[in-house]
Symmetry: C4
Subunit: 201 residues, 4 copies
């Protein structure tokens, strides 16, 4: 199993998971609504749009980071393939907490939905930790990857772990606040570079 | 992140979004209809077929234009990747307004559905403006792309903006008319060339 | 727009359309059924399985033929791209008549469902005719494609047209008979070669 | 039809089928549940999560084995393409028994659901047998594939056949036990090597 094939398969899974997000936004059922009533019905779908945009941005950035991680590894060791499979499990799973959040955020059970949503990000973060470990183990790492680079990436991942756990705890007391933290953390991941050249500057 | 990978990922998203359109056409539920009644039930699904064909043609042509835009850029700058992500958000979103239109076009709330449908095209058009700007910024533009070519493309995009906004306003007064304008504008985009050679003739 | 990209995009659409077929087979809803009752409920889903397998085999063979057609063309002319888009429209559409058939074949409206199913194949067949014409027009045809080869393919297509129209008419009088003809015609398409070498023997 | 194209198409089908699994986990409908009630509702979805993870792991490992099988064949003979199509039919089908199991495992009809689930694995196993036969037939096999290697793979497949049939019978008496056997057998397939070098050690 080459690294290239695994990457292509993962790309397929990422692009499908990100596109399936839209299936969870349900069109208001037909009940003779007037233009005004339909506009209002659409407006009250805001938790769906909110969850959709948050998960879209996150999956897109996770995909970019996934490529970054793949550049660190020279060979796909069995350990690396296993960690990648574990990561894909959560990528495929993401549309479920997104839909759960969309429907229950403004309901009495909103905190539970938000905790599950944020908790999924914690698990995704853990799977990135595992993939980083597998990619930088002595058998698979590229020669030109410096320890300084992997330390920097690891530090950013730990920072993510901390924030995602905090968001999960926050979500228990204030659902929207917790979700907002999770949804906005993708901005951090866009700043993360997997390239040594950026570091040498 | 190379340009090639981003293009392949975008292709995946386009092909999935265009195929998901069919999921929104719902089979008439079984209720002991006779052959005649079922034929009539299928016939009354015409807004679904209409929206399906319109969105199909549009996504297909947007995809062709997406490739054209990618030929203008030599490198994928972060700004370019961000604009592309913004565009993908609307491509993935398109099945929702399509389904909304399919179900509500012939209902009292038809104008709202049509305005949302046309409005999505306005936003898609804006994201193409952004991608063009990113593709032709000084860092990423190909050497053999002339200012004359980018001006011509920009002019076509502005023409599109104008028509899509007009369609959105029209949809408020006459739903079908507004949607027809949006659905037919893809014919304009098939005429648009991203190649300098065509211009030199 | 190169031929390769169009082929890759079409491959994506074919593989998604063929996989979406399964979404139309609905799990019997939970209503406290015993093992025997659930087994019976599954058994009575036979029209779904029948339609699923028929459409699966057809899309798979259409995909193989699609590749054959692409080998005939050297360049992707606009006419060729347009014909290919028209073909993709019906490939994407196929899950709908499949689901219609699955639910209504054993109902009073079975003939209507079967006519729509067979009629879709007639339209698909027409789009293959158009793609063949576009692929073998003077601007796009490969040098080593002999007129004898294109005549042989055309003849097979006309044979298909005849059978699909007959099946559509048959479906009006006997739903299952018409569908059976359509579902089994893929065997013909597996026999069709797009290669001159096979002919020279 | 080259081997490469068939492999790419199959990869697409595998990645879509594995991602569609999530669509079968349904979000608990909104009914004013409190946080505690929603948490409980999510917890009682355990058969869905169980079936999801089991099918995910299985499809992922089947995909890795699919690549292994493709390395054995040098040419894609018609027989090989046919066997591959037969295999894809079951890969696409897998989300259905997964959903059936998810909803009916804890219901009175759980045994029927479990038997169908395990039975699908028996059929998938048979299609792997057929693909192995096609890949190692005299017309298509690679020169450097030793009879010893194919015998070893065949033996592992027969072992799988035996276990899957046993699981199907077990499922008739104890649903969860049968499913557990099926869901865990993917661990066996991760151990299977399609490479001669591993054998020479």
């Amino acid at each position: 199993m080459g690294k290239g094939r695994t990457e292509a398969f993962s790309d397929g899974v990422f692009s499908i998971a990100i596109t399936l997000l839209i299936l969870e936004i349900k069109v208001p059922p037909v009940a003779g609504q007037s233009n005004r009533e339909l506009a209002w019905a659409l407006f009250s779908l805001w938790p769906s749009f909110f969850a959709f945009v948050g998960s879209f941005a996150t999956i897109l950035v996770l995909w970019i980071n996934h490529h970054g991680l793949f550049t660190l590894a020279e060979h796909a060791t069995p350990q690396f393939l296993f960690a990648n499979g574990f990561l894909l499990l959560f990528i495929i799973f993401l549309p479920f907490p997104t839909a759960l959040l969309a429907r229950h955020l403004t309901e009495p059970g909103g905190n539970t939905a938000a905790v599950v949503y944020c908790g999924t990000y914690v698990l995704t973060n853990i799977s990135y930790h595992l993939l980083l470990t597998a990619a930088t183990s002595t058998q698979s790492i590229c020669k030109d990857v410096t320890p300084r680079l992997t330390r920097r990436i690891r530090r950013a991942y730990w920072f993510g772990t901390l924030i995602y756990i905090s968001a999960t705890i926050t979500a228990w007391f204030h659902a929207v606040a917790g979700v907002l933290i999770c949804s906005l953390l993708w901005i951090l991941w866009t700043r993360l570079s997997y390239c040594d050249k950026a570091e040498q500057k």
